[in-house]
């Protein structure tokens, strides 16, 4: 199979332009992260360093978890919109009569969600780290800056968003109501978060090798999800809107 980068690029650029000019998406993408950065920072600042052991770790864990909810939620908003939005504007019909393959179309759609998600998530995580370094208690800062924690965040951010993206796209090819698709996607994007919860709360010992192992598993799942969604992709159903 020969993929056409030109076609993928065409859809991707189109999509990013469209997002940038969609007021709903711009507002959501700028407000949502604010909520998810305000809460953990507030938590850490009020964290009493005198409490010890597991409780202390739990609080840190919660804050870091907040950072990973973002890459799960942003895709559910964008991805749910990406297929349904096309269908509503009637753009799907002309697009699907061009020589684009289902795989190309879907990977372009996924990238269009992935890129803003990663940019926003990493950016917010950077701000979070900066705030911690400057303002938080040194013991809190030292814990956050542990190598494992940072690595977990960096590796899991794209993997979790990958999962959300594919479930979001899969759901939106079946459901024609944007709101419902978004809500379903949020639900469906939670399972991978559970793993991270377990690690952040030290229930699963967060060793480097475990994190990498899980990352590989998630990566495989993401790749399979792409294949799977491709087989679900059915021009007729998308066009006629019947199930």
């Amino acid at each position: 199979m020969n993929f056409s980068p030109t076609r993928i690029k065409a859809i991707l650029r189109n999509e990013l332009r469209d997002y940038r000019r969609n007021r709903f998406i711009v507002y959501t993408m700028s407000l949502l992260p604010l909520i998810f950065i305000a809460a953990p920072i507030a938590q850490l600042f009020t964290l009493n360093v005198a409490i010890i052991g597991s409780k202390f770790n739990n609080r840190i864990g919660v804050s870091l978890l907040d950072m990973l909810i973002l890459p799960a939620i942003i895709p559910s908003i964008l991805a749910a919109y990406s297929v349904i939005g096309e269908r509503e504007q009637g753009t799907l019909e002309p697009i699907l009569t061009t020589p684009i393959r289902a795989e190309e179309f879907l990977i372009a759609k996924a990238l269009a969600v992935f890129i803003p998600t990663i940019v926003v998530s990493y950016f917010i995580f950077g701000i979070f780290l900066g705030a911690v370094a400057v303002f938080a208690h040194p013991i809190v800062a030292a814990t956050i800056f542990e190598r494992n924690h940072i690595l977990t965040q960096l590796v899991f951010t794209p993997l979790i968003s990958g999962w959300s993206i594919w479930t979001g796209i899969a759901i939106s090819t079946y459901i024609s109501d944007v709101r419902a698709a978004q809500q379903l996607t949020v639900l469906a994007s939670l399972p991978p978060l559970v793993i991270v919860i377990l690690m952040n709360f030290n229930i699963i010992a967060p060793s480097l090798s475990l994190a990498l192992g899980l990352a590989v598993v998630l990566f495989l799942i993401d790749t399979m999800a792409w294949r799977f969604v491709t087989t679900l992709f059915n021009r007729e159903r998308l066009i006629t809107g019947k199930h």
């Binding site: 650029r13 332009r17 504007q89 061009t98 021009r235």
Partner: protein, 308 residues
């Protein structure tokens, strides 16, 4: 070329046993009322939906999942609703499609097609800000971008005001002159009559195919209307004596409507016969059937058939 194509959605039949052939460079019209199956046919032929049964060859390639991609490279479609990204500009919309067809020299091509639909000056307008007529023209430009071998147009003027409709007609006439192969659907007779080389009348099944003139002749023989200075005393005798007259009747206004095979031959005979019988012929002329009569006749037959 299409053979016995049928598509049903579950129990509901969208169209049935449709067969026809469209020649290279031909403008072929698919005429039918709402719900006749026009859009579904276009979607089937443009590889979007699969036929329930039957076969079709499009641009030389047989319809079927393996070859759909090849067909898509050779066709372009202008759907019923223009389907433009409203938050993107006219040229951004076209740019995306140029990429999907992997076209070279994109800027020039876009300028060229926009010029051909008289939209060169609206290049940087957001599509959402355009009127319906202009959007339809952008959609046409987009369909022309890849120089398709077959252009599918689904009701290109539905919902347009008369001026916008005429603009689109002019553009399509220009394409017809250039020899572009066009498959066009419409529920408007005068549109099919004006634009198409041949027309097929569809109402779930195909009713008739032919040039607009052929369709008229096929269904109706032609009529002569004769106004006389006085009542014909024995019309029976006069009219039955002339060969080529199939039937006749007197209209409410008092003139005679005579059904003939060839008016050019029969009209002089009628005049001679009437004058010979001492009757003044005030006027004689052919009353033309428009395609509308043909069309309504066919559609009505269907309605009656359904009521039975």
């Amino acid at each position: 070329m299409v053979e016995d194509l049928t598509k049903s959605f579950g129990e509901r039949v969208a169209y049935k046993d449709v067969s026809f052939e469209v020649g290279y460079g031909e403008v072929f019209g698919f005429l039918g009322p709402n719900g006749a199956g026009k859009t579904t046919t276009v979607r089937t032929l443009s590889t979007l939906i699969k036929p329930t049964s039957g076969q079709a060859t499009i641009a030389g390639i047989t319809l079927g999942s393996d070859s759909d991609l090849l067909i898509r490279e050779r066709i372009a479609i202008m759907p019923e609703s223009p389907g433009l990204y409203s938050r993107l500009t006219v040229s951004e919309n076209l740019e995306c499609f140029a990429g999907l067809y992997e076209l070279k020299d994109v800027k020039n091509r876009i300028d060229k097609v926009l010029k051909s639909v008289n939209l060169a000056d609206r290049k940087n307008d957001l599509c959402g800000s355009l009127s319906k007529g202009l959007r339809q023209r952008v959609a046409l430009a987009r369909a022309l971008l890849s120089d398709p071998e077959i252009l599918f147009l689904d009701e290109p003027t539905s919902g347009l005001d008369p001026v916008a409709t005429r603009d689109v007609h002019d553009l399509l006439m220009a394409l017809r002159e250039r020899g572009v192969t066009i498959f066009l659907t419409t529920h408007r007779l005068e549109e099919a009559e004006k634009l198409c080389h041949r027309v097929a009348i569809l109402n779930t099944t195909l009713k008739l195919i032919g040039s607009p003139a052929e369709l008229r002749e096929q269904l109706f023989s032609r009529n002569l209307e004769i106004k006389t200075g006085s009542q014909i005393i024995e019309p029976e005798r006069i009219f039955t004596d002339i060969s080529g007259i199939q039937s006749w009747e007197q209209s409410v206004s008092g003139s005679y409507i005579v059904n003939v095979s060839d008016p050019d031959v029969v009209a002089p005979w009628i005049v001679r016969a009437l004058v010979g019988a001492g009757i003044d012929v005030l006027a004689i002329g052919e009353t033309r059937h428009s395609l509308e009569d043909v069309y309504l006749e066919l559609i009505n037959e269907d309605v009656e058939a359904k009521q039975r």
